[in-house]
C-alpha cells in the first residue's frame, strides 16, 4: 500500500531552490591540486641533456633536440628534451628518473590549440605560462630514486695494512657488487665523449648487467687495449661527468671496467676477441716506447695486419705505467696480462734499445714502412729554487723508476715532497712505505703550490695518502732549500695566494709575510715532467715542426710534419694513460690510412 509519505517525500527536493548552487563559479581558472601532474617544466641550465627521460618514456613522447643558447660541452650534451603532448600520458616517470632533478611537472593542465603540431615543445627553452609555477609534481625526496644514488662500496685494505707493503689496495668488485653497481647506470652516454678514448661505457656496463662479460671485453677492446690497467689507474674523467653523479655518487666506471677485465681469463682473450688469426698486410711499423700510446698503436696496427716492433729503452715494457705508477696501485701481473696479450698478437718488443744510441731514427725509417713515437715525459722538472742542485734533492720520476728496477733508493727519516699532482702522491706514498719498512714509522710531508681545493691530484689519492700518515700541506710556494754541506736541512716556503691569473695562465701570487719552514733530510721534486727528445738528431729536429713551447706538432691523424713519423702519448697530449691509449689508437688508424694510400 502506498504511503502518503512516499508520495510527498520527493517534494523535499524543492528546499534546494533557495540554496546556493554547488557549481564552481569560474571553472576555467581553477588551480589543480598541489601535486597535480600537469605540463612539463625544465630548468635547462641544470639539465645536461642526458636523455634518460627519453629512454624511460613508454610512449616515445620525448625527443632530444639541440637548443639555441645551450652549448655542447663535457658533461652536457647540449640537447634538451622536447615533449610531444600527442604522446605524453603524464605518468611522471621522466621526472622520477631525471638525473639532475631539472625536469618537473607544473600543476597547469589546460592547453587548447587549433594546430595539432603545436603540442611539441622544449620545456624551459620555449616560454610557457606555467614556467614559474611552484606547485606541481617534483621527484619525491627522502631518497626516492629509481636508481640508487649510493655507490657500491669497494673493498680496500685498511691503512694499517697497506702502508706495510706494495700489495694492491683495491680488492675489486664481486659479481653481486658489480651487477648492483651496473644497475645504477642510466645508459645516457654523457661519459663517452668525455673519455679521451670514447669507450663504449654504457655498452660494457650493460654487458655486466646482462652477465655477458665476454661481450663486455669485446666492447672494451674496441677502444682500449689496456683494460686491466685503465680499470685501475685511469684518471676516469668519465666519472666526473656521470649524470648519476649530479644527485648521488657517480658510477664507479673504472672499477666496473676492471671487473670485466679481471673476470676474463688471459688465456681466453684471443678466443673471446676473435683474434686467433689475423690477416697480415706484409707491412712493418716501428714503435718507439712501450708506454700506453705505443702499446695501443701496436695493438690496433697488429689487428690491422701490420708487423709491429716496439723499441724500449728499459728492460721491461709498460713505460710510465710500470715505472711511474707504484705497484700498490697497479700490480705488475695485471700490467703483464694486458701487455702479454698485445705481444701475443705478433707484436715484437726489443728491450734495452735506445734510439739514437743503439739504432737511429733514420735507420728505423729505412727498415720500416712507418714509425710511431710515444716516448712520453720522463724528465722531471725542477722548481729551480736555490738548493735544488744539491745531491739530496731528487726527482720523483727517477725515484719511482729506481723502485721498480730494484735499484737502491735513498730513504731518509724526514722527507719533503714538492708537488700536488698524482705523481707527487705516488712518490709520497711509495716513500712512506719504504720509510715504514726501514724506520718503522712514516714522516712524509707533501706541499704544493695549489691549495687543497685545486690540487690536481685525485681526491682519493690525497685522502689515502693522509690515511697512510703522510702530511699533506698544500698552498705553499717553495722559496729555498736550506742545505748544510752534504745534508739538507729543510724547505722554506711562503703562502701562495693564487696560482693562475684571470686568463687562466700560470702566474702565482705569494704573500711574502706568511712563511713556513719544513725541516727535512731529503727533498723530492714532483712538479711535472718534460720530454726528452735527445734521440732526435739535430738535423732531424729542424725538419720537424714544433710549437713555441717545444712540442711536436701533429695533425688529426697524429702524423708529424715528417710524413713517415707519427707521434702520440704524453708528449703530444696528456698526461695520462687514457689519452695515450686514444692517441695510439688514432695514430694507428692514421698510419693505416697513410700506408694504404702509399
Amino acid at each position: 500500500m502506498t504511503k502518503l509519505n512516499d508520495i510527498l517525500s520527493p517534494f523535499t527536493a524543492w528546499k534546494h531552490v533557495v540554496r546556493e548552487p554547488v557549481t564552481i563559479k569560474d571553472p576555467l581558472n581553477r588551480e589543480a591540486a598541489d601535486r597535480y601532474r600537469g605540463f612539463h617544466k625544465n630548468d635547462i641550465s641544470e639539465c645536461i641533456g642526458c636523455g634518460t627521460c627519453e629512454s624511460i618514456c613508454q610512449n616515445a613522447a620525448i625527443d632530444l633536440v639541440p637548443v639555441d643558447g645551450v652549448e655542447t660541452k663535457d658533461g652536457d650534451s647540449g640537447l634538451r628534451p622536447r615533449v610531444d603532448y600527442g604522446r605524453c600520458c603524464w605518468c611522471g616517470l621522466c621526472v622520477d628518473v631525471c638525473t639532475t632533478n631539472s625536469l618537473s611537472l607544473s600543476n597547469e593542465y589546460t592547453w587548447v590549440d587549433e594546430d595539432p603540431d603545436n603540442f611539441r615543445f622544449v620545456p624551459g627553452a620555449e616560454n610557457k605560462s606555467w614556467d614559474n609555477r611552484e606547485k606541481g609534481y617534483k621527484k619525491p625526496g627522502n631518497g626516492y630514486e629509481l636508481y640508487s644514488p649510493v655507490r657500491e662500496s669497494m673493498e680496500e685494505l685498511e691503512p694499517e695494512q697497506r702502508d706495510q707493503s706494495f700489495i694492491e689496495i683495491v680488492q675489486g668488485y664481486s659479481k653481486e657488487q658489480a651487477e648492483k653497481e651496473a644497475d645504477r647506470c642510466v645508459e645516457c652516454g654523457i661519459c663517452v665523449a668525455t673519455c679521451p678514448a670514447h669507450m663504449g661505457i654504457p655498452e660494457y656496463i650493460k654487458a655486466i648487467r646482462n652477465d655477458d662479460l665476454n661481450e663486455g671485453l669485446r666492447v672494451l677492446y674496441d677502444t682500449n687495449p689496456l683494460p686491466e690497467i685503465c680499470g685501475r689507474i685511469c684518471t676516469h674523467k668519465c666519472e666526473t661527468v656521470c649524470s648519476v653523479g649530479h644527485h648521488g655518487d657517480p658510477l664507479s666506471i673504472r672499477w666496473l671496467k676492471r671487473y670485466i677485465a679481471d673476470q676474463n681469463p688471459a688465456e681466453e682473450y684471443k678466443k673471446i676477441l676473435n683474434t686467433e688469426t689475423l690477416q697480415p698486410t706484409g707491412k712493418k711499423v716501428a714503435i718507439i716506447g712501450s708506454g700506453p700510446s705505443g702499446l695501443s698503436a701496436a695493438h690496433y696496427l697488429a689487428l690491422m695486419g701490420y708487423q709491429c716492433t716496439i723499441y724500449e729503452k728499459l728492460p721491461a715494457a709498460g713505460g710510465m705505467m710500470r715505472f711511474g705508477i707504484p705497484e700498490y696501485r697497479l700490480p705488475y701481473d695485471q700490467l703483464d696480462k694486458d701487455i702479454n696479450y698485445i705481444l701475443s698478437l705478433g707484436v715484437e718488443i726489443k728491450y734495452n734499445m735506445t734510439i739514437g744510441k743503439d739504432i737511429t731514427l733514420e735507420e728505423l725509417n729505412k727498415q720500416y714502412d712507418a714509425v710511431f713515437s710515444g716516448t712520453g715525459l720522463h724528465m722531471g722538472r725542477s722548481t729551480r729554487v736555490p738548493g735544488t742542485d744539491h745531491p739530496e734533492v731528487y726527482q720523483a720520476v727517477d725515484l719511482l723508476r729506481d723502485i721498480v728496477l730494484g735499484n737502491e733508493v735513498p730513504v731518509k727519516e724526514k722527507i719533503v715532497v714538492i708537488g700536488g699532482g698524482n705523481v707527487a702522491m705516488d712518490i709520497t706514498r711509495s716513500l712512506a712505505r719504504l720509510q715504514k719498512q726501514k724506520f718503522g714509522k712514516v714522516d712524509m710531508l707533501t706541499t704544493s703550490l695549489e691549495s687543497e681545493d685545486i690540487m690536481p691530484a685525485d681526491r682519493e689519492e690525497v685522502i689515502e695518502a693522509r690515511e697512510e700518515n703522510a702530511v699533506i700541506d698544500p698552498g705553499w710556494g717553495p722559496v729555498e732549500i736550506e742545505t748544510e754541506g752534504d745534508k739538507v736541512k729543510g724547505l722554506h716556503v711562503v703562502k701562495c695566494l693564487s696560482v693562475f691569473d684571470e686568463n687562466r695562465r700560470f702566474a702565482p701570487k705569494f704573500d711574502e709575510e706568511q712563511k713556513k719552514f719544513f725541516p727535512a733530510d731529503m727533498v723530492v721534486e714532483s712538479i711535472g715532467q718534460g720530454m726528452d727528445l735527445s734521440y732526435l738528431s739535430e738535423e732531424f729536429k729542424e725538419q720537424l715542426k714544433m710549437d713555441p713551447r717545444g712540442r711536436i706538432l701533429v695533425n688529426d691523424d697524429f702524423q708529424t710534419s715528417v710524413d713517415w713519423l707519427f707521434a702520440g702519448g704524453d708528449m703530444i697530449q696528456g698526461p695520462d694513460v687514457i689519452h695515450g691509449i686514444a692517441n695510439g689508437h688514432k695514430a694507428a688508424m692514421g698510419i693505416d690510412k697513410y700506408l694504404s694510400d702509399k
Partner: protein, 175 residues
C-alpha cells in the same frame, strides 16, 4: 584443495599441479582430457563459475597455453586448468555448452590468437577487429609497433639525437 586434486588424479591424468596461493592453484591437463576434466570439476567438484578463459603465446615452445580459470563459490577457491595446444592449426574443443559466456571468450581467442573452437556459436564472426587481414594481433610474431607505424601514419616532424653520438660529433668533429 588438496583433496580435490587427489580426487582428480584418480579419474584423470593430471600432468602437474602448482599451488600459487592458499586459494588458487593451477594444473596442466592434456588437450584431450581437458573438457572432460572441466566438466567433472563443474558437475562433481562444484566449480560452478568460469572466471575467465584466456591464452598465452609461448612462441619459443611453439604452443599456446589456454587457461580456464574456475571458481568454487562455496569454498571460495580458484582452480586454473592449463592446456597446451600446438601453435600450428591451433584448435581446441569448445566449452560453450558448459558455460554460455565461453562463446564470447572463444570468439575473442579466435580473433586475437587465431585459436579455433569448432562448433562454438558465431566463432568466426568479427569481434573487435573488423576486416583484419594480418596474422592475429596477440600472436607474439605480430609486430604491433611496426604495423601501427605502417598503417596509422604517426605525425611527422619528430627527430631525436643520441647524446653520446651527438656529443662526439659536436666536441670532436674531426674524429
Amino acid at each position: 584443495m588438496q583433496t580435490i586434486i587427489e580426487n582428480l588424479q584418480k579419474h584423470f591424468q593430471v600432468v602437474s599441479y602448482h599451488q600459487q596461493r592458499e586459494n588458487l592453484g593451477f594444473l596442466i591437463a592434456s588437450k584431450e582430457v581437458a573438457v572432460g576434466l572441466i566438466t567433472h570439476l563443474r558437475d562433481y567438484e562444484g566449480f560452478a563459475h568460469l572466471v575467465l578463459l584466456t591464452a598465452v603465446d609461448w612462441i619459443e615452445d611453439e604452443h599456446f597455453q589456454l587457461t580456464y580459470l574456475l571458481h568454487h563459490p562455496e569454498k571460495k577457491v580458484d582452480l586454473g586448468v592449463r592446456v597446451m595446444i600446438s601453435r600450428e592449426n591451433a584448435e581446441m574443443y569448445s566449452i560453450h555448452h558448459l558455460w554460455e559466456q565461453a562463446r564470447t571468450y572463444q570468439r575473442e581467442l579466435r580473433e586475437m590468437f587465431g585459436i579455433n573452437f569448432p562448433g562454438s556459436p558465431d566463432v568466426d564472426k568479427p569481434f573487435i577487429l573488423e576486416g583484419w587481414e594480418e596474422i592475429p594481433p596477440y600472436r607474439r610474431d605480430f609486430d604491433t609497433k611496426e604495423y601501427s607505424e605502417k598503417t596509422y601514419f604517426p605525425r611527422p616532424g619528430r627527430e631525436t639525437h643520441d647524446p653520446a653520438e651527438y656529443m662526439k660529433k659536436k666536441l670532436y668533429p674531426n674524429e
